[in-house]
């Protein structure tokens, strides 16, 4: 038993003296205290930048943010929707599918050239690839290998005139367990 009864007295007194006042004070403090989660800065060693034909140009703010991570390795990936390609092949034939593929790859090369130029200027080490697959699944699977995902809010859909973020991006953000920069 020891001196535990004295401790009981203290706790009983605390309820009498402080009561709900302390709860109110804590609520006021919570408005400007950082939470435990906010205080943990994730360690970022690798970043995945995912693009498609609907992605916005990467803003200067985003480049500036990723520049803050030193010695980070970057993977730039441009995803072409394999489902569309398959549909064209099945309905319009192999030739039309090849033509579509060539045009998409050319568009991707143009898009990535600009990104690569900027990353080169910022002295980033990076690799790039153009991939075919389901836009959501591909990014979800690949992002597991990286510490941070950077993605445009228009990725996967241009129907962002009514919604500011595309449904594909919503799905990705809900599924990946890594931090995401959405621009």
């Amino acid at each position: 038993m020891g001196m535990s009864w004295l401790h009981d007295i203290i706790l009983r007194k605390f309820n009498d003296i402080a009561g709900t006042r302390y709860e109110e004070i804590l609520k006021a403090y919570k408005n400007f205290f950082l939470t435990e989660e906010e205080l943990v800065i994730p360690e970022i060693n690798s970043i995945l930048l995912a693009f498609d034909r609907f992605s916005c140009r990467v803003s200067e703010d985003v480049y500036e943010t990723i520049s803050a991570f030193e010695n980070v390795s970057l993977q730039v990936v441009y995803v072409i929707d394999e489902g569309v390609l398959r549909m064209i092949r099945e309905t319009l034939g192999e030739e039309a599918a090849e033509e579509f593929k060539e045009k998409e790859v050319a568009f991707a090369e143009d898009f990535l050239r600009e990104v690569e130029k900027k990353l080169g200027e910022l002295n980033f080490k990076f690799s790039r690839k153009i991939a075919f697959g389901d836009k959501a699944e591909y990014v979800e699977d690949l992002s597991e290998e990286y510490d941070l995902l950077v993605i445009s809010r228009r990725y996967g859909s241009e129907t962002t005139k009514t919604h500011r973020v595309s449904p594909v991006v919503f799905r990705i953000v809900q599924h990946v367990e890594k931090p995401v920069i959405l621009y």
């Binding site: 007295i9 007194k13 605390f14 009498d16 402080a18 950082l34």
Partner: protein, 426 residues
């Protein structure tokens, strides 16, 4: 000893017992005791105004209204963030600055409100610094009790003593202020020496800690900028009023009530809301206690004890020593409010044969600083230990006792020496 005197003593001891054991709420114990002495007519109804010290009760009520309205503006969180940022994440600076700010705020506001408002910030910083929070919390508690000693309005015993002896705010500041100042730095020094090994933040995290603390914006704490400015203006006005109350011939309670009225009028704050937060339980506790102690005066018990004490004490010097140390050890164990309420008529009764002026300072010293001795010695101790317990930090009665007693003995010794040098001489 006649029957009435015996009944009054039994009621008094019974109420003290309930207050100490906390089996029933101290306010209920005091109210039951007061009702009994009034029912039995030990204290006649017409003498209630004489014993009910309205100066003390109204001063407390007025300050409670001012503080509660000011609290709504976010003023105290603002002070806490400013203090945190000044410390720049250095454990030693956190210890010193929070102790000084706690002492200064406690000198003008009630200690419980002060520690309730500053402790969440202190816990946040110590968590970020990844250091043992206990020395910081203990230092805050001790600083609060020491700061309260410095002024007439800092601690309830001082309010009661000031009212009973007719002492002014400036007399308190002049006599108790220097003692509180020396005691505060002695306390921080002792805490530092006792816990210095546990107060080192990890060097590699220094920048991160500093950035986290500096990222706090004190302006975020201000919930109502207009009320914030009005609260500061009224608080400063009230404090200036206290400095001049004796020259103006106005009681401190009138200053506090005027401040409360002005703030309510100027801010447009709801009086129902502001008065709801007045601690009526505390005020009724005071009221009940004054009447119970009045019953001891009325029956002559106090006069007999005072005569016995005077027959054994031969000079003011001896009285200073006895009162300061007896008050300190008693206040470490029993609530200093009922203790002071009992000692006041005793010292008054000793006035027939001794100069009581230095004795009031000895009582203030012992009653306020004695609270540092044990975990239940003062309300601020209990509040901080209660908060710590909620946050998973266990400060046991024994842990507190070890440091608390050392602080109490040191600070009371310093205070007694200063009073002795000033009023008794070598």
């Amino acid at each position: 000893m006649d029957t009435m005197e015996l009944i009054a003593l039994v009621i008094f001891i019974g109420v003290y017992g309930f207050i100490m054991s906390e089996r029933i709420h101290r306010t209920v114990a005091a109210m039951v005791g007061a009702s009994l002495v009034l029912l039995i007519n030990i204290v006649p109804w017409e003498k209630v105004p004489k014993y009910l010290d309205l100066d003390t009760i109204l001063l407390l009520a007025g300050m409670m209204v001012v503080v509660n309205v000011a609290r709504e503006s976010g003023l105290f969180e603002y002070i806490a963030i400013k203090t945190a940022k000044l410390s720049k994440g250095s454990p030693m600076k956190v210890l010193l600055l929070f102790s000084v700010v706690t002492a200064v705020v406690s000198a003008f506001l009630d200690n419980v409100t002060t520690v309730l408002l500053l402790t969440p910030m202190l816990l946040y910083i110590t968590k970020r610094m990844d250091v043992n929070p206990i020395p910081f919390l203990l230092s805050e508690v001790f600083a609060s009790n020491i700061g309260g000693t410095a002024t007439l309005i800092g601690d309830p015993p001082n309010i009661m003593i000031g009212s009973a002896a007719g002492l002014s705010f400036n007399e308190f500041l002049f006599n108790m202020g220097p003692i509180a100042l020396v005691d505060l730095f002695a306390t921080v020094g002792i805490i530092y020496l006792a816990y210095r090994a546990e107060m080192n933040a990890h060097k590699e995290n220094e920048e991160g800690i500093r950035m986290t603390i500096m990222s706090l914006d004190e302006n975020d704490a201000i919930r109502d900028p207009v009320l914030f400015k009005k609260s500061i203006t009224v608080l400063v006005g009230v404090i200036i009023g206290f400095f001049f109350h004796d020259r103006l011939g106005v009681e401190p309670a009138v200053i506090a009530l005027t401040g409360a009225s002005v703030l309510l009028l100027w801010s447009g704050a709801s009086p129902e809301h502001a008065l709801e937060k007045v601690e009526w339980a505390t005020l009724f506790f005071f009221g009940g206690l004054f009447i119970i102690v009045g019953s001891l005066v009325e029956t002559g018990a106090i006069a007999q004890i005072a005569n016995w004490m005077v027959s054994h004490i031969h000079s003011e010097g001896e009285a200073v020593l006895v009162i300061s140390w007896f008050s300190a050890f008693s206040s470490a164990v029993v609530d200093n409010i009922p203790f002071t309420a009992t000692m006041i008529p005793l010292i008054k009764a000793m006035g027939t044969q001794l100069n009581t002026y230095p004795l009031w300072w000895a009582l203030s010293l012992g009653a306020c600083l004695g609270g540092n001795g044990t975990a239940i010695g003062a309300s601020a101790n209990v509040v901080v230990i209660g908060i710590a317990h909620r946050e998973g930090i266990r400060i046991t009665f024994g842990d507190f006792l070890k440091v608390g007693m050392a602080i109490m003995v040191t600070t009371v010794a310093i205070g007694t020496a200063i009073i002795w040098l000033r009023y008794v001489g070598l």
